[in-house]
């Protein structure tokens, strides 16, 4: 595009960690949920994995906390253009849950769904190999409800709408199936480094 007359922009971040089209939100952490924040107590939170698996399972808050602790430390990127550096989410690696249910050889994708009814679709490959977490802590403290507490999915290498808040479960599938934002014009995969914001990107 042409240069915008008189536009200089903020000082350039010398940050290799900033995907194309993103800016550093600094200390801000905008909330962008489209639905009413559920009032969900940890005691009422459950996480279920079912669909194409050898053994469907549901974990309570206590059962999930009994799995080996794992944390994500790094960056997150929202499709609305902000990125946030050096965040720390504490919880359990999603591998711990998936290893317990043993997905079928035919399984290729999952739909993550929330206690609010939110859904988002992900390739199974994006959820395994230490790249996804169920997180209940942010910066060493309980995850606030407006940011998805008691627990949310964290898939930090994709745009953050894939990191479903108030996570309730994963349905394991042998095909891709668009979730909430994906049915509303957003990209099926949402890789920030490829700038996959909208369908057709």
């Amino acid at each position: 595009m042409n240069v915008t007359r008189g536009f200089t922009g903020r000082p350039r971040a010398n940050n290799a960690g900033l995907p194309p089209g993103q800016y550093d939100a600094g200390d801000d952490w905008p909330v962008l949920s489209a639905e009413v924040t559920p009032d969900l107590a940890p005691a009422d939170w459950t996480f279920r994995v079912d669909g194409l698996v050898a053994e469907e399972r549901t974990w309570s808050w206590e059962q999930a906390h009994a799995l080996p602790a794992s944390a994500y430390e790094g960056d997150i990127h929202c499709v609305t253009s902000w990125s946030k550096f050096g965040v720390r989410f504490g919880g359990v690696s999603l591998d711990a849950f998936l290893d317990a249910v043993r997905p079928d050889a035919s399984a290729t994708h999952a739909v993550a769904y929330s206690h609010s009814g939110y859904t988002t679709n992900l390739p199974l490959a994006d959820l395994t190999g230490g790249r996804a977490w169920i997180a209940w802590e942010y910066d060493g403290k309980p995850l606030p409800a407006e940011h998805g507490g008691p627990a949310r999915l964290i898939v930090p290498h994709l745009y953050f709408w894939k990191s479903a808040k108030w996570i309730a479960g994963l349905r394991i599938l042998d095909h891709d199936e668009p979730g909430f934002w994906e049915q509303n014009g957003y990209h099926a995969r949402g890789n920030p480094w490829e700038e996959q914001r909208y369908s057709g990107d």
Binding site: V3, F7, G9, S33, T80, H175, Q183, N184
Partner: protein, 251 residues
């Protein structure tokens, strides 16, 4: 497995419309034709976008500016104008302190300047004009709701529409001269003589939910996260179904 997965709980799904992938994927030039001051901190920017494919009230777009060294800044903005404004769109932008994009608009931009836009985007917060609309906004959160109100008037729709709009003072109320009988302003810091001061409360919401139109209200809430949290709780407590509340939070 051929059945589509439906989660055990639901909210306001699906989106209201199918979204054009082609329109959303294409950047196009928008030429500034007019700037109108709304309040000390907000102004409306009118653009000619000859190839704009149209939008629905409530949708937004992505806008980008380019600096001489190639640096790009892009932001999402709600569309303020109604769909029938052929070949033109309007955005109303707050002057955000330290904001590189809103700062350019408020201090540098003049008619004749061009930027790039892509859209319209997202079907979730769209209102085609088909259901009774209960609109609640604060500050610049009124912008997408104004597109709905203007559409309602331009098409002379008879489906019920109500707007509750919150502003700090009467001077800070965006589009103050355009509101009519359908709108109740709420002032949180300073109000004209005889008008009470205070935040949006159950007393503002309850009368609207008491007069349920056929089929019930579709509620659209737009503003800061704090405002959206507060108002969505008021709505739920007043009996509005969770799956009939659509929220757009300004980051």
């Amino acid at each position: 497995m051929t059945e589509t997965f439906v989660p055990p709980t639901r909210f306001a799904v699906p989106g209201r419309i199918a979204v054009s992938n082609r329109a959303a994927a294409t950047w196009q030039t928008a030429t500034l034709t007019e700037i109108r001051r709304e309040t000390p901190h907000a102004a409306t920017f009118r653009f000619a976008v000859p190839h704009w494919t149209g939008h629905l009230p409530g949708q937004h777009l992505m806008l980008r500016l380019r600096a001489e060294d190639g640096y790009l800044a892009q932001r999402h903005y709600s569309i303020a104008s109604p769909p029938d404004d052929a070949g033109h769109i309007e955005l109303t932008l707050d002057h955000v302190e330290g904001g590189e994009v809103s700062g350019w608009f408020h201090t540098v931009a003049r008619p004749g300047d061009s930027v790039e836009v892509r859209g319209p985007l997202s079907g979730f917060f769209a209102w085609p004009g088909d259901r009774p609309a209960l609109l609640i906004g604060a500050g610049s959160g009124v912008v997408p709701l104004m597109s709905m109100l203007r559409h309602h008037r331009a098409r002379d729709l008879d489906v019920p529409l109500r707007l509750l709009v919150s502003a700090r003072t009467s001077e800070a109320l965006i589009y103050a001269r355009e509101y009519g009988e359908e709108t109740t302003p709420v002032f949180t810091r300073g109000a004209p003589d005889g008008v009470p001061v205070g935040r949006m409360a159950a007393a503002h919401v309850a009368p609207l939910l008491a007069e349920q139109p056929p089929g019930g209200w579709e509620a659209y809430v737009c503003g800061s996260n704090g405002f959206a949290e507060h108002v969505s709780r008021l709505l739920v407590e007043a009996g509005q179904p969770v799956d009939r509340i659509r929220i757009e939070r300004f980051g």
